[in-house]
């Protein structure tokens, strides 16, 4: 590269951001961010959800344009106008949500983007892929349909796609959230080999450990601002624990302790109390795009929080849906306060006190275009006092909705505001209010803090603790191990649709759960 001859330090950057700002209605997603990305480095972008990581990637990959500031490529100011332009500049992105066409084969997906009049050059591709995969030590089935591949394999295809296109800069967006612990290690090793070949990698994550393990340089984002950077020189001199505590300081300000690690209050779960929820040998048949469940058994007593840990996509959602009655179970029994409920409908289960707080807040939890007030009662349509003889009692609905808005601190312009206009945290409060309202006995939380900012995350966790403290049984499904460790009484691990073990949440729980997650005995 000619830039080597240049004396300017900035010229060594493959890509540099200078004072980049991006605004969306209501929020500043990125606030004058400076960033320099150099060859042969894994640059970790660390930040919690909502810190502005995705927006930053959107701008680097040409999906969005900055409102202020500029992006320099090879030292020259270059607006990245489209994904095509980004690719031409050598910037390849592996998105958090897989960007592959499920109905096409691996080869066809890799070929996507060629000149339209051409025949896809399959032979050429096969040779090129063989060349790349041999140096990287991965194998790829070129003629398999994407829909037949596991998420880890799909990710490899995406990385391969960036390589096939001669990318100089590879952006990996939250790439470990879908992987098993071994898969994460493999990805780490792969990234190392790639940077050794002279590539730059931007690795986005919200997990401190990964940042410390895989990075050469770490930039920390917080609420749209870059709050700090650890350059490689410093990085090399520090041990893993030191790096982590330094990052924590950057992310959470003065307080040294991890704010998420609230001391778990010692609750006394009365061991002699009869279980509120008993599940025995629950089974669900697998479908095209979801794993099945096999012989799931557990019990939850009043006031107890049982956590379900595991890599995303191992049957967590299916478990929650089968318990709630949304998914047909092929076998097993579910008992609420001793009575079998497995044959009951969703509505009947809810009426008896089984509540399910979904992780898909806008997709199925609410009707986005409906007002906040109606969304509080979506699961009670037709019941008194909100409906009498089938007729809506608007005054009753508004009265109760206003009460819930106050009680759960939902920040909404008005009760009539379409719920989709609220922030994720406030939508979650609407769901919490709905599910925890009168009559709840057993509550299933599915990834309750996914995508929330820190304040809302902490508030939601407190809600869950309070729920258990009221004597309800709680099933907490989460992919965030820290969350489970900070809240649960016991943690069960799910893998491939089966519970592979249950651990009491005491001192060595972290190691035990970790061992179960990678397929070892606790």
């Amino acid at each position: 590269m000619s830039s080597l001859s240049s004396s300017s330090v900035a010229a060594r950057d493959i890509v540099a951001l200078e004072g980049v700002t991006k605004r969306f209605p209501g929020i500043v997603a990125n606030d004058s961010i400076d960033l320099s990305i150099r060859p042969g480095e894994v640059h970790v972008l660390l930040g919690e959800n909502g810190a502005g990581k995705s927006t930053l990637i959107g701008m680097l990959s040409g999906l969005q344009q900055p409102d202020e500031g500029r992006i320099l490529v090879d030292g020259k100011p270059t607006p990245i106008t489209s994904p095509r332009h980004a690719l031409a500049l050598g910037i390849g992105t592996v998105f958090q949500h897989m960007m592959l066409v499920p109905t096409l084969t691996v080869a066809e997906n890799l070929l996507l983007g060629g000149p339209w009049w051409q025949r896809p050059r399959t032979e050429e591709l096969a040779a090129r892929v063989a060349e790349i995969t041999s140096t990287l030590g991965i194998t790829v089935k070129l003629h398999a349909k994407i829909s037949e591949l596991s998420l880890g394999e799909q990710q490899q295809v995406e990385i391969l796609r960036a390589m096939v296109r001669n990318s100089r800069l590879l952006i990996l967006d939250e790439s470990t959230s879908m992987l098993t612990p071994t898969g994460i290690d493999e990805l780490g090793a792969l990234m190392r080999r790639l940077v050794e070949q002279g590539l730059s990698i931007v690795f986005i994550t919200h997990k401190l450990k990964e940042a410390a393990a895989f990075g050469d340089r770490i930039s920390v984002l917080k609420l749209g601002r870059k709050v700090g950077e650890i350059p490689p020189e410093r990085f090399r001199t520090l041990g893993e624990q030191e790096i982590i505590s330094e990052i924590v300081e950057l992310m959470f300000g003065q307080q040294k302790d991890d704010p998420e690690a609230v001391d778990r209050p010692i609750r006394t779960v009365r061991a002699e109390a009869a279980p509120l929820l008993q599940v025995a040998d629950l089974a669900v048949a697998p479908t095209d795009n979801a794993p099945g469940l096999s012989s799931i058994s557990f019990e939850i007593r009043p006031g107890e929080i049982l956590g379900i840990a595991g890599i995303d996509g191992n049957g967590q959602k299916q478990l929650a849906e089968a318990l709630a009655g949304q998914r047909v179970a092929t076998g097993g029994s579910v008992r609420l306060e001793g009575t079998a409920i497995e044959t009951l409908s969703v509505g009947e289960r809810r009426q008896r006190g089984l509540r399910y707080l979904t992780d898909d807040r806008l997709g199925e939890g609410t009707v986005g275009t409906f007002p906040v007030s109606i969304n509080f009662f979506l699961k009670q349509v037709g019941t008194a006092p909100f409906w009498r003889n089938g007729f809506e009692q608007r005054a009753e609905i508004d009265k109760r909705a206003a009460q819930l808005v106050r009680e759960y601190d939902v920040r909404t312009p008005s009760l009539k505001t379409p719920v989709a206009r609220l922030s994720g945290g406030n939508i979650q409060k609407v769901l919490l209010a709905r599910e925890l309202a009168e009559g709840a006995k057993v509550v299933i939380f599915n990834k309750p803090t996914y995508g929330l900012d820190l304040a809302n995350t902490l508030a939601s966790r407190q809600r869950i603790r309070d729920t258990a403290a009221r004597g309800l049984a709680v099933l907490l499904i989460s992919t965030d191990l820290e969350e489970l460790l900070s809240i649960c009484d016991r943690i069960a691990v799910i893998a491939n649709g089966a519970l592979v073990g249950t651990v009491e949440n005491v001192d060595d729980a972290r190691t035990k759960v970790g061992r179960l997650m990678i397929g070892l005995a606790a």
Binding site: L63, S82, R84, M99, V101, L104, G113, W116, Q118, P120
Partner: protein, 311 residues
């Protein structure tokens, strides 16, 4: 009743079936391309009418059928351009705009016809057939299949051309990606809007050509509402064919035979209302749907406008 099974009759029946099937085939192939790319094109009936009217005008004033086909296709493209602008570019509701375009073109072509031709009702001379040597000498089949206007053979060839396009070219991949996962196509560096626009305009060209064939070769004249639901039939064919052009051909032929049979029965003086026979293909398809109606595999993003960055 002898006449019903005579060679001449059978031959005429099949000849009529092909003639009736071609507009449906072209409409179905066109709609299929839009749907593959993720655009539900309800306005195809309007595109056919535009093609029929302009195709007739072109052929009538120039005296050349080929120029008529050209103006017909251009008419379809013009309507498709509105559809592409409103539904693909700025993402308005495809069903609303589709119905608006169909209604509008029904009215507009009827209106123009009224002011231009309603006194004279001009007709075009019968279209010249391209007789294929040797093959056309086969009894029955010969004069049924191999004595058509050249455009008929081209339309059938198009079926295989489309098949090749979808399975063997980069554009085929792009189209499928635009319908199944537009965001993936976008990050691969291909403009989704452009890809879908190409698909919609091609639909317009094919539908316009189908309309022009209907007016210029099938009927020899333009009358208001001449398409009589052929565009909607094209939508049905495209949805049932699940992305395979060859199935559009089979479907079009099935409907063509039934349409031809209704004419033939009238000629033969058989006393069954033609409506009975017109019902047959729909009945067959509905029964098939009831028996084998698993989830029709439509593109995942069908009917959803693409907006970059929206998830």
């Amino acid at each position: 009743m002898n006449g019903l099974f005579s060679e001449v009759f059978l031959s005429a029946l099949l000849f009529g079936a092909i003639t009736a099937a071609i507009p449906l085939l072209l409409a179905g192939l066109g709609e299929q391309m839009s749907e593959k790319a993720g655009v539900l094109n309800i306005g195809i009936e309007g595109m056919m009418l535009a093609g029929a009217y302009l195709g007739f005008v072109g052929a009538f004033y120039s005296g050349s059928l080929w120029l008529g086909f050209l103006t017909g296709a251009a008419g379809g493209v013009a309507v498709a351009l509105i559809m592409a602008l409103l539904c693909v570019r700025i993402g308005l509701n495809q069903i609303v705009i589709g119905i608006a375009l169909t209604l509008g073109l029904e009215g507009l072509t009827a209106l123009l016809h009224h002011f231009q031709f309603s006194r004279s009702y001009p007709r075009l001379p019968a279209a010249d057939a391209t007789v294929i040597p040797l093959l056309s000498d086969i009894p029955v089949i010969g004069s049924a299949f191999f004595k058509h206007h050249l455009i008929v053979y081209l339309a059938v060839a198009l079926v295989f051309g489309m098949g090749y396009l979808y399975r063997r070219t980069q554009l085929g991949l792009n189209l499928q990606a635009a319908g199944d996962k537009p965001a993936a196509l976008d990050v691969a560096g291909i403009d989704v809007i452009k890809t879908r626009t190409i698909a919609v305009l091609t639909t317009g060209a094919l539908a316009g050509l189908g309309g022009a064939y209907l007016a210029n070769v099938g009927a020899g004249l333009f009358i208001p509402f001449i398409t009589n639901g052929a565009g909607f039939l094209g939508i049905v064919l495209a949805m049932l064919a699940r992305g395979r052009p060859i199935w559009v051909l089979f479907g079009a032929l099935l409907f063509g035979v039934c349409l031809s049979l209704t004419t033939a029965m009238q000629v033969a003086g058989i006393n069954i209302p033609t409506d009975v026979i017109q019902m047959l293909p729909f009945l067959a398809v509905m029964i098939m749907l009831v028996l084998f109606g698993r989830r029709a595999s439509l593109p995942a993003a069908l009917g959803i406008p693409y907006e970059r960055g929206a998830r």
